[in-house]
Structure formats: structure tokens, C-alpha cells
Amino acid sequence: MNPDNTTAQGTPAEGELPASATRNACKLCSPLGAAMVFKGVRSCLPFLHGSQGCATYIRRYMISHFREPVDIASSSFSEEDAIFGGARNFEQGVENVISQYQPELIGVATTCLSETIGDNMLGMIKSYQDKHNSSGPPLVHVSTPAYTGTHSDGYYGAIDQLVRTFAKPMTAKIAGHVNILPAMMSCADLRHLRELCELYQLSPTILPDYSATLEGSSWGEYHRISPGGTSLEEIEEMGSATATIEIGHTRAYLKNTPADYLEKTSSVKRHALGWPLGIRHTDQFVTSLSQISGNRLPESLKDERGRLVDAYADAHKYVSGKTAAIFGEPDLVIAQAAFLSEIGIRPIICATGAKVKKWKQLLSSEIEGGVADVEALSGTDHAKISARIRELKPDLILGSSKGYPIARELSIPLLRIGFPIHDRFGGQRILQVGYRGTLAAFDRVVNALLENKQDTSETGYSYL
């Protein structure tokens, strides 16, 4: 039985659902998102200003998903620092990070503790730099109190700060230079985004690009910081791009995004796009690439698209009319909902732990066939999601490993996507962008449904 639904005595819990507490959160805290972005910058070391437990927890969480070294420094607050402020620790911490890691950038994120104390990060960074005559690597700071947002906010916030801090205003443009600001995607997604750009003869600056740092090769010698990532110089030069593609449905409606900043300061055209999953959104994505590069859809992509449409046709009957529950980061959920509705699956539960304004409205603009049958849950937790899944019994659940208990309870297949995937291998390699990624996602969906049907059938045919 699912523990969120049973009493301490093992009987089903009854009565009013507890509403005040969060039960099995469907979100992580903001510094994690920021750390992920900093891992995507070359030779950057993430640094959490606060007590060390937060850094250790976040490291362990990321390591269990990516299975790579994830070093995150902390200013290791003691009780005194919690009372008097962490300036001394900050300075010592930064010095030790420099002497151990020799990073090219230190990405500083705050924890709830330093935010609550009200440590003045910018002031501390400035006084550190003044004291050292600005020698040593630059520091960038993103404010990430977990009590105002989720890991998604930390993720986008860190990208924002990197761009605002380092991208120089530029007027001269380099033909073929494009910026890509991805949503929180897998390493395979980031690699494929690059590949797509290159097919259009574009050279992209992808920020962040943790495709190598969080999925690297085996080492002969130790690397202090995993190789890979977007360099500081590349970030400085983002203003020389002709366009920025900013991915994420929730981002598209916002002003003051980093792409918007680049547009204002350096006239880099902003293309606000959804996650390129599914034919519609990939079409939009490649259309943007066409516009930016002036090149037509490459033959190889045309073929990929063709094969995808063909696969849709071959398997549509097995998915048609099925229902799904999706949970995760807002942009991931919208992307999946858009994709599933495109192939005839109804995303009847769309849930996120983040508090998203107009969540249903956002979904409605992406889900084909309207949202009358869609439960849009924002600011929710897994206990509530599970309760809705018990009630509505969808055919499929899409989300992180944290969906396993309910999937197991109800024998509904769980397609693992997003973060964290702690109970399977390869979470960092799940491809969900472009026609190729869509085809892979489509196969996974179809096969999960088939497998479930086959496993629960009486005869167990091996041919269909």
C-alpha cells in the first residue's frame, strides 16, 4: 500500500485530506536549480551560501540522478554565523574553493538561511573582490530562497543572472551565432539541440550546457571540475548573436527574461518557444532555426519528420483515447501535455509543485481539444496527485521516480521523465527534443501501454 494513504496502523486513512502540510513534495528547492545551471558553465564551481547540509543534500540528489561527481561548495555556517551573518565564512570559503579548484567562475546561490538572515551577497562579493584587487575568478550571485519558489525558479534565475552579469552589450553581429536558453532538460536533449542548430549551419551558445559535465566520459586522471560547459567568454559574447531561442512555455509570457534582456541591450531577437517535443513544437523550433539561419529544412530532418509521422500512423490506435497523468516542472508538464494531446492521449491530470499563475490557461493554449477534461493542479504535492490518480485511474503516468509508489499501487505504467530519476539508469540520456526525440518518446509511450496490456492479458500474445 502506498504510505501516503495509510495510517500508522496500516489501515486506509480516512476523513478530510490534510491541507496545511506538504505531503511528499512535487518540487525541489531553488538552489538545486541554480547549481544545475552553474554545472553547465565551463570550470564553474557552484557555491551555496548557508549551512552545509543544503549543499550536501543537493549534491547527493544530483549525483543519484546523473551519476557524476557534483561538487558544490558551502560556506558551512555554524550557529554563530547564523546569528551574526556569514561574511567571514563566505570569504574563507571562496578562498578555499579557489585554491582547491582553481575555477574560472564561482556561482553563488543563497540558501534559505542566509536569505532569512539577510546577508548582503552583492556587498560581500564586492568587498571580497575589492580586498583582492579583483584578482581571481569572477563571482556571480543568484538569490534562491526556497520559500519563494522551486528548483525551476532557481534554474531560470541562475541563467538570468549569468546573462545580466556577463553578457556585454554588443552591436556587431556574427552571422550564424545563435543563443539557446533551454528549459531544464536532459544531457541528451542539450546535445541534440546543438546538433539541430548545426544542421542549419548555426553555431549555438547554449546556456546552460551541462551535457558533458553531467554526463561525461570515464577519466584516466582526476578533473577538479568536470570538463565541458559553456565558457564565460561565450556568455560575454551572447550579445553578438543574431537571435536567442528561449525555451519553455511558461517563459514565453514573461517580460524581463534573459532573452528579453539581450534583445533590449544588444538587439538580439528573442524567439520565445515551447519545448520542442511533438511535431507542432518541433516544427516551430526548426522554423525559427530556418528564419535565423536563412537555410531551409535539411533533408535529414525532413526524413526524420517523415518517419515520425509514419510512426504516428502505425501506432495511433494503441494510444488513441488513452488518458495520462503528468507531473513535474511546469515547462516539462506543458510540453508533455502538448505532445500527448497531439497523438490522441488525454492528459487528464497535469500537476506541478510550483505555484503557477493561470496554470490551466497556460495548459489550455497547448493542449489540443481543450481542457474541459483536464485537472490542472499547481502548487500541489504527491499525496494530492496520488489521490487524484486513484480517483481518475489514468492509463499512464509520466514523471520522475517519485511517481513509482502510486504507479505500483494501481499497476499503472510509469514513464520516467524529468528529474529526479533515481530508480532507473539513463535519466540523463532520455531524449525528448526534436523529431528524433519525439519519435523516441512516442515509442516509449506506445510500448508502455502495450506492455501493460500484454502483461495483464490472459493469453499473453507475442504477436500483434
Binding site: A21, C29, E79, G93, L113, T150, Y222, H223
Partner: protein, 468 residues
């Protein structure tokens, strides 16, 4: 040299130099100090320590008062099993939002507790304070008192904000909290030959195995604390005649409280490896002084060892001479591991712990071979340095150490609370050998760059000597 290029020299931070020691060097060794800021310690926080220790109490409600991260990162990640209630596997949090950070979170805590107790009907509730709770001025004690009164369910504050220290500090707070329950239950009917198993967390069912050993020789186990733990067991655990304390750090304080206030003697034991497990059984039998108990214990040990020795011998043949590094939470575990590795014919060349104290390290230093490096509160760079320098074949540690080993083509064995495989007791030793062998002897390592390089070197040497 750039940070992301391969590096041959890794320096130990000046601040930490005295926490790294080589046996035979004659230098002084320092431990038991606060982590150096920026050192990327592998240590967690005090809150984490208290949460780990109390987590297995399955029919209690565990609620984390604070922002969400602290609670969610340890949601159902531990391998501690329960034979009944699974309530502990949930992650409950007050998930403080900005307005509560400004105006205080007491109301939300109270409402959360009332609702959760009503819905889940726990036997007791533990309320963990994280770092910001004190700062925003919440009086958790008062709320707990109030809710206890309203619901008749004991609500026990666990005072362990992360910044208070390492896990060890948290253990202390956990013991204090657990002790609040002790002495409130009925102890009638408890055998005169009875024990509490303390510091045993039932990872992969270990406590069940060990409990069965004692029952087989005629000793009653009143409570396993906290593995497969129950509130009612804690309430009556003061009725036991002897406390056996494993994992020195986590439960010593509770055992001492029981000794001081209930006169229950305590004995330290370990259930890791044949020798320690046997010794742990003898210790209890000897304590009660009944020759029949001892007779049965000896018989059990004989049977169990006979059952597993041939297999262990087979592993030993294959693992002999391999070099191991270990980095674990507490020193007691390190101690047992060195012996267990030795039983498998392996040599420990690096041993370290997150939170050992001087006494622990003294013991560890004594049993290690000359040349062994001992580290306190180490970090990934240091660990990588010694893995390479010492040409280690196996690393024993937790999730955070795993990628260091695997990146460098070194075998790994998981030995922390997140593992799912029982490594304690006689049978556990076999699992341990199996775990080690599965990784060390895997054919895949030959593809790892470090091994390819080594092979290349040997080949060119052969070619050099062969060429005229």
C-alpha cells in the same frame, strides 16, 4: 593549469593538512572540528543526523518544520525496512512560504500537526526544526505541547537545526527526543534475559536477522532502536536488562541516559563481520552469566560460520591482495570494515570518516597497516587524490563517493543508509563479500582509461625488452 583539465597534483588545503595522516609518519592528527568553509565536505547537517536516526520509527509521524528542500531530499531514500506501518516513508513538511518566514510559521505548524495526526493516526509525532526556524522566532516546543494536549498524541520537538553541527550533533538531539518516550510503557512480562538492540537501523532487514540470532539463543529483544522501530517499543525499552549499542555515534547518548536513569548497563557491539557478530552474541550471553545461553551462542556461531565459510573462502581467493579505500560516516563502521576486508584478504590503504573522534581514530590507527592514509572530514578532491596515489581497487562509501570511484575506473561498494542490501550478521558478511566481488571482479574495468593506460605501459615495456 585549467580547472577542467586532467590533474596530477591535488593539494590538500592548508587548513586541513592536520586532518590527513599517514600511519608511520609520526605526525599529529587532528579531528572533531568544524568543516572548513569551501572545502566541499562530504558531511551533512545536524538535522540530517536526527532525521536518519529517528526515521525508522515507523508508526510515528515525522514532520520537518522549515522550507521544503530539507524535507524533500530525504523522502523515502533510506533502506530501513518496517514490518508493518510505512508511515515513516512519507515526507511531511510545513513547506514554509515567504509570508511565514516573515510572520512566523507557528500557525502552519499547528494546523499541519492537527490535520496529519487526525488523518494518519500516528502513535507519536516528531517535529524537526531546520535552520531558519529559530531565526523566524517560532516556539516549536510550545506548539508541540499545545498539540499534544489537544490530540493526546505525544508531539516531540527535535531540536537540530542544520547549522548546529554535523550529523553527530543531530544524533544527540534524536536521542533526547526518543528518550521522551522511554519509561512511559508497561514493562511487565519482559524476560530477565532481555536486551535492546541500539543503533541498528534495519537496513535491508538487518535488525530482523540479528534479532533472530538472539531469540535463538534464548534472549528476548525488547526493542530494536530504531530499526523497524515502534513508539510502543520505545516506551517500554527501559524494561530490558541490557543495552547493546551498535554504531557508536548515533545511540550512545540514549544508552547512557538509560544507564543513568534506569540502571541498564550498556555494552558496545558490532554486527559486521564474523568475529564481531560472534563477539556480540557472546557479550550478551556472558553478561547474563547463564551457561546455557553461552552454549547456545557458541552452537549458533559454529553453525552459521560453517554455513558461510566455504563461500567466503572462495571469494577470498579471488580478492586477495586487492587494495581498498573506505570513507564512511562513523569510525566504528570504519573499524569493522578494515577487519572485514582483511578477512577477505584485502588491504585497506585509505580509511576515513566524516565524524570520528580522537578515541575512534586512535583505534583505527592501531589496526591499520603502516602506510595507510587516514583522513577526517575529507572531500572529493582529497579522496580522488589518494585513490589515484594508492592505486586503489575498491572504494567503500556512500552515494557521494560513488562517482569518484566510478569515474576513475575503481570498483565500489555502498555502505551507508541508502543501501538496500543487508551487510550485518553472518549472512551479511557473505552479502558484503559478494557486493565487493561483483564490482572488483567485473570484466568492465579493463576498458577504463586508467587500466587501458596501465595495460599500454606494460605492453610497451614488454615490447621494449623484447626488441633487440
Amino acid at each position: 593549469m585549467k580547472a577542467d583539465e586532467p590533474t596530477k597534483v591535488i593539494q590538500v588545503l592548508d587548513d586541513r593538512a592536520a586532518q590527513v595522516w599517514t600511519k608511520g609518519s609520526g605526525e599529529a592528527f587532528v579531528c572533531d572540528r568544524k568543516s572548513t568553509a569551501g572545502s566541499v565536505t562530504q558531511r551533512a547537517c545536524a538535522f540530517c543526523g536526527s532525521r536518519v536516526v529517528l526515521y525508522p520509527i515507523a508508526d510515528a509521524l515525522h514532520i520537518v518544520h522549515g522550507p521544503i528542500g530539507c524535507a524533500v531530499y530525504n523522502w523515502d531514500i533510506r533502506g530501513s525496512l518496517s514490518s508493518g506501518s510505512q508511515l515513516h516513508r512519507n515526507s511531511f513538511s510545513t513547506d514554509l512560504a515567504e509570508k511565514e518566514v516573515i510572520f512566523g510559521g507557528e500557525k502552519k505548524l499547528e494546523a499541519s500537526l492537527l490535520e496529519l495526526i487526525e488523518y494518519y493516526k500516528p502513535k507519536a509525532a516528531f517535529v524537526y526544526s531546520t535552520c531558519i526556524v529559530g531565526l523566524i522566532g517560532d516556539d516549536v516546543q510550545a506548539i508541540c505541547r499545545k498539540v499534544s494536549k489537544k490530540t493526546n498524541i505525544d508531539c516531540i520537538p527535535v531540536d537540530s537545526p542544520g547549522f548546529k553541527g554535523t550529523k553527530k550533533t543531530g544524533y544527540q538531539a534524536a536521542c533526547e527526543a526518543a528518550y521522551k518516550l522511554v519509561g512511559t510503557g508497561d514493562t511487565s512480562g519482559i524476560s530477565k534475559y532481555s536486551i535492546n538492540l541500539m543503533g541498528e537501523f534495519n537496513i535491508g532487514g538487518e535488525a530482523w536477522m540479528i534479532r533472530e540470532y538472539y531469540e535463538r539463543i534464548g534472549i528476548e529483544v525488547v526493542a530494536t532502536i530504531t530499526g523497524d522501530g515502534r513508539v510502543d517499543d520505545l516506551r517500554r525499552c527501559h524494561g530490558a536488562a541490557l543495552n547493546l549499542v551498535q554504531c557508536s555515534g548515533s545511540m550512545t547518548h540514549l544508552a547512557q541516559l538509560l544507564e543513568e536513569e534506569h540502571g541498564i548497563p550498556l555494552k558496545r557491539v558490532s554486527f559486521f563481520g564474523f568475529e564481531d557478530t560472534a563477539q556480540a552474541l557472546y557479550t550478551a550471553a556472558e553478561h547474563f552469566g547463564d551457561p546455557e545461553l553461552m552454549c547456545k551462542a557458541e552452537e549458533l556461531v559454529r553453525d552459521e560460520i560453517a554455513k558461510y565459510t566455504p563461500k567466503i573462502k572462495a571469494y577470498r581467493k579471488e580478492l586477495k591482495g586487492k587494495k581498498a579505500a573506505l570513507y564512511v560516516g562513523g569510525a566504528f563502521k570504519a573499524f569493522s570494515l578494515v577487519l572485514a576486508l582483511r578477512a577477505l584478504g584485502m588491504k585497506t590503504v585509505l580509511a576515513g570518516t566524516q565524524t570520528g573522534n580522537a578515541e575512534d581514530y586512535k583505534q583505527l590507527q592501531d589496526i591499520c597497516d603502516p602506510g595507510t592514509v587516514i583522513v577526517d572530514d575529507s572531500n572529493p578532491l582529497e579522496l580522488a587524490k589518494f585513490v589515484l596515489e594508492k592505486e586503489v581497487d575498491l572504494f567503500i562509501g556512500g552515494v557521494k563517493e560513488r562517482p569518484i570511484a566510478f569515474k576513475l575506473g575503481v570498483a565500489f561498494c555502498d555502505h551507508n543508509h541508502e543501501r538496500k542490501i543487508p551487510l550485518a550478521g553472518f549472512e551479511g558478511m557473505l552479502h558484503f563479500a559478494d557486493e565487493v566481488a561483483k564490482s572488483v571482479l567485473s570484466p568492465i574495468w579493463k576498458f577504463a582509461p586508467r587500466h587501458e593506460l596501465r595495460a599500454l605501459k606494460i605492453n610497451t615495456q614488454i615490447a621494449d625488452t623484447e626488441s633487440p
